[in-house]
Amino acid sequence: MARYNFEALAVLLIDDSPMMRRVVNQMLHAFGVESVHIAADGKSGLKMLNAFHIDLVITDWLMEPMDGFDFVRLVRTDPYVATPMVPILMMTAHSELWRVAAARDAGINEFILKPITPANLLSRLIYMIEKPRPFVRTHTYFGPDRRRKAEYPYFGPDRRSGEAAESDPSGAQAPAEDAGKATAVVAGGEPAAETTMVLQ
């Protein structure tokens, strides 16, 4: 099983809910992350992103005055943002397909549905570490390649035997319900003209 040391990781956490910030911050610290920068909305998050070295962003969607969707869009497209390719994990309680597609098209790397649990948060983090997506720039889009299917590691109790080694970089595999949601995140695909690309 793969092992990880998150001590050197600098995370920017953006959420307008003080309780959610505490929950996710506690989880990250328990995982070993020592540097967690915290912002209460997208606008503050942008300032922090330009002010600090950030390896990974975790952002909520529904915030005021600037929500997570606009934050992601600006990170990917605003020329004044220093790190347009920073990995972004969006967390939200909204799981509607149109929202997932909108977040994907704004340029998120991965999507995590609330409720956030230690297992599903760590699963997404490890997935982002082990399966980074190349970036794509077209006339209408800049962000992670939107086509690859996700296979998230799974830490739950109902793992079926014999399949773990293939799909899980950490030695576990994705649960069926999570896998379905994850597929919805990335299954939209680029325009037909781009689908001839071979990435890996």
């Binding site: 099983m1 793969a2 092992r3 990880y4 040391n5 998150f6 050197a8 990781l9 809910s17 309780m19 959610m20 505490r22 929950v23 506690q26 989880m27 610290h29 328990a30 995982f31 070993g32 390896d55 529904l62 390719m85 939200t92 309680a93 909204h94 799981s95 509607e96 397909l97 149109w98 929202r99 609330k114 409720p115 956030i116 649990t117 230690p118 297992a119 948060l121 760590l122 490890i126 982002m128 570490i129 082990e130 980074p132 190349p134 970036f135 794509v136 720039r137 077209t138 006339h139 390649d145 590691p153 830490f155 950490s170 576990a172 680029e190 325009p191 003209a193 781009e194 690309m197 990435l199």
Partner: protein, 213 residues
């Protein structure tokens, strides 16, 4: 990131122009080490950390329920002010929905989800909306008063179905795009049962369980 660490490949030209940009996997370079920690250990430690916040979460639910009850009491007094009141109720319900299951209170999340769906799907001015909001808030207060944890078992399922029945009756069809400050919920089609009032829920709580890990 230095340009040497970025590989750019142009795939197509013209209107189908596309550039593929590949970079070093800096996340992996920083985190994946043989002397690192086992993910299972990290999850166990994080679960303990989350569990230590449970009392604070329940305070938020109780305060939020009272706040939503106060807001709901003002609905209809001057209809032009209803939209901001409903938006504030929605934000609180959304927070409850998003956090309950993290702490092992699935039924609280379910009620919050149902209330969010009600607010998203109901047309402004619908005369039954306030009563339906109050029913949801009564259910939330009841779950807390009786210390019901987890999904509430069969009783919780019955309550959830009844509330979803309210959403189906009072609310319109699920939205397919932005409306209010959210859209439709997960498109869950739950069976519509006869609506019960929270007061009809018998005494009893499901065994407490640890937060999901």
């Amino acid at each position: 990131m230095p340009d040497d660490d970025i590989k750019r490949t142009t795939i197509n030209a013209g209107k189908n122009w596309c550039e593929m940009i590949e970079t070093r996997n800096q996340l992996k370079e920083r985190t994946a080490t043989p002397d690192g920690r086992d993910p299972g250990e990290m999850i166990a430690e994080a679960g303990d950390q989350v569990a230590s916040l449970t009392a604070d979460f329940l305070d938020i639910v109780d305060d939020g329920t009272r706040a939503m009850q106060t807001l709901a009491a003002h609905l209809g007094t001057s209809p032009q002010d209803d939209d901001p009141l409903l938006a504030r109720i929605y934000r609180i319900a959304h927070e409850v929905k998003g956090q309950g299951q993290t702490f092992g209170y699935e039924l609280i999340s379910t009620i919050g989800q149902s209330l969010c769906a009600l607010l998203e799907r109901t047309s402004p001015g619908e005369p039954r909306l306030t009563a339906s909001i109050v029913t949801h808030l009564d259910a939330l207060a009841l779950v807390r008063a009786r210390g019901i944890t987890g999904d509430g078992g069969a009783l919780g399922q019955h309550l959830a179905n009844a509330l979803w029945g309210e959403v189906e009756v009072v609310g319109g069809p699920p939205a397919t795009g932005p409306r209010l400050s959210g859209g439709n919920q997960e498109g869950i089609e739950m069976p519509r049962l006869a609506v019960i009032t929270p007061a009809a829920l018998p005494e009893g709580a499901t065994p407490a369980r640890k937060p999901d890990r």
